[in-house]
Symmetry: C2
């Protein structure tokens, strides 16, 4: 059996292009004791993958040149020599961008319970890293409280859309999204139920945030960084909390970005900016997934998955996250025949 | 009786100069019921005064054109129609830059206990706003813990020097100052007992912080902002806390400053930046003053006051804070005849 893999050919400058990755074909791995062989069905496309392509320190080591692109994913167990996995189990974990992967002692997968009625794409979206990031970022890092005026950038994205919906369901005073373009903004309000959505491509964002949030922003969930972060900083309320989740405006920067100018507002308003990585909350994923899964099943958490077919299109799928060309959680379908429910 | 006052003549662009303020002479205020008349001895020179001269939102309203420059200060009660004050009491509070001030119901002063043996200049330094800012910023906002690697900018200044000494006395793993020029740096180590002091005027500050703090910076007390903040951000340890106290590198900026580029390190290292204003801790000043006063009396807290004589020199004294021309807490002696102990 052959294993097609997308490997890092050279480190990108700016957006990923056809020189960044190459497809190699290797023999599929064989299953040793305490291991299981997984046929990959979906791989996850996340902005953070772009950061791993740089030769720079991060929360994980950079992807090495010639290494398979690191990512989450899901699939089905086709052979098992481990007590943890049964043939036919749907599992999620670190698959990387390839067709086959081994579950090992070092690279464990989680078995998706078969009775939930949630398909794998939904699980990877809402119950996966993006949904969990929304949950812990808002509630733990951001210490959300009822009545908070919440602003969320990347509001049409997989994480942002969940942040806004949790905040609404828990009694936010107001939830304002920031997204790119009128279509995205309409989606944020109509599909995800935000009170408003501001288009960052239009001028005078700082003033528009002030109009939307006249008492100031209590909690800002930042997926974007850069100028949008500055515009929100100019409008924070006393004791505001800024959750630093990501900075997608910076990930493809070819030059040193201009930087955040309004940090002094943290002094004036006694605010805080706090960064986090969702992995730190791994022990509590179960509780969050219970709540998020229930919200999906009772219809209070809208979600959508943007499926791109073909492993070879994974690099273009990654670029969609930065151009705004995706709608919802972006996943690459590696093998259509893999059962996803 | 006449009252010389320094008033704001026009808003400065960049450093304060001879066009910024003017001296006016008005009749000294007269003491009404529940009021006391204070002869001002010293006024406090603090970087924040520069921010109040701008027509920009802040934690206090801007100083109005034609208004006396706002500042802390100390003096002696010469007449009292209030139960709170006795003639002869040494008091501290908001005097503004002038020779006479009334203590009123709205503008209350604190009576300095007469038995401490501490002179007014020391009280205004270590037990005043600058010392209290160091205390609450390090211990409460920064959640200092034993073993922390602490970096302090403006380390030769009134606040920074106290931060480092409290951190040392409470068991910091290492205390590294950042200051301008070899003379200041020597003072920070020799007089204030920091383990090291880095000269920000020399190149490669980021690399030198890395060398001094190979395990990363656990707590950064930032008085300066700008490039120095960026250099420290590049070196933060996991779960680092950055205390945003001030940003003196920005206060005279003629153009929009370049901004802070390395905020993504807060994500990578799960760090936080937190701003504060010492006034928020007013209810706990007494406890802090007890500890700080004891440290002075038992010789574990070195301090020095930089006295500038003559109210008319207050604007130049303010500029010293930005050029680094002061050594320790800068105070203007308004009247040499006022008893300071």
């Amino acid at each position: 059996m052959e294993n097609r893999q997308v490997v890092l050919a050279q480190r990108p400058v700016g957006m990923v292009d056809h020189t960044t990755t190459t497809i190699v074909t290797t023999p599929a791995p064989t299953c040793g004791p305490n291991e299981a062989l997984i046929k990959v069905g979906l791989v996850s496309i996340d902005p953070t993958i772009r950061t791993w392509m740089n030769d720079a320190p991060g929360y994980l080591p950079p992807i090495g040149l010639g290494d398979v692109i690191r990512s989450g994913g899901g699939g089905v167990v086709v052979e098992s020599k481990s007590e943890r996995y049964q043939v036919g189990d749907v599992v999620i974990g670190v698959t990387n961008w390839q067709e086959w992967v081994l579950a090992t002692e070092e690279n464990r997968f989680n078995v998706v319970p078969s009775g939930t009625g949630l398909d794998l794409a939904t699980v990877m979206n809402v119950l996966g890293t993006t949904g969990l990031t929304a949950y812990f970022g808002l509630l733990d890092v951001g210490a959300f409280k009822e009545g908070d005026v919440v602003v969320v950038s990347g509001a049409g994205g997989a994480t942002g859309s969940v942040v806004g919906q949790i905040a609404k369901s828990r009694g936010a005073g107001k939830v304002v999204g920031i997204a790119g373009g009128p279509e995205k903004c309409a989606e944020v309000v109509e599909r995800y139920g935000f009170d408003e959505c501001l288009d960052y491509r239009e001028p005078r964002l700082t003033q528009r945030i002030r109009t939307s949030c006249p008492t100031g922003v209590d909690l800002y969930f930042d997926n974007v960084g850069g100028e949008i972060l500055d515009a929100v900083l100019a409008n924070i309320a006393m004791h505001a909390r800024i959750v630093m989740c990501g900075a997608i405006s910076q990930y493809n920067a070819m030059e040193r970005p201009p930087g955040v100018a309004n940090t002094s507002m943290l002094i004036m308003r006694r605010g805080q900016m706090k960064g986090f990585i969702v992995f730190d909350f791994a022990k509590r994923y179960g509780d969050a997934q219970l709540e998020l899964g229930a919200m999906v099943l009772n219809g209070t958490l809208a979600h959508q998955e943007h499926l791109v077919h073909g492993l070879e299109h994974a690099p273009e799928a990654l670029n969609l996250l930065f151009t705004g060309g995706n709608h919802g959680k972006t996943l690459v379908v590696v093998d259509d025949s893999v059962r996803l429910t």
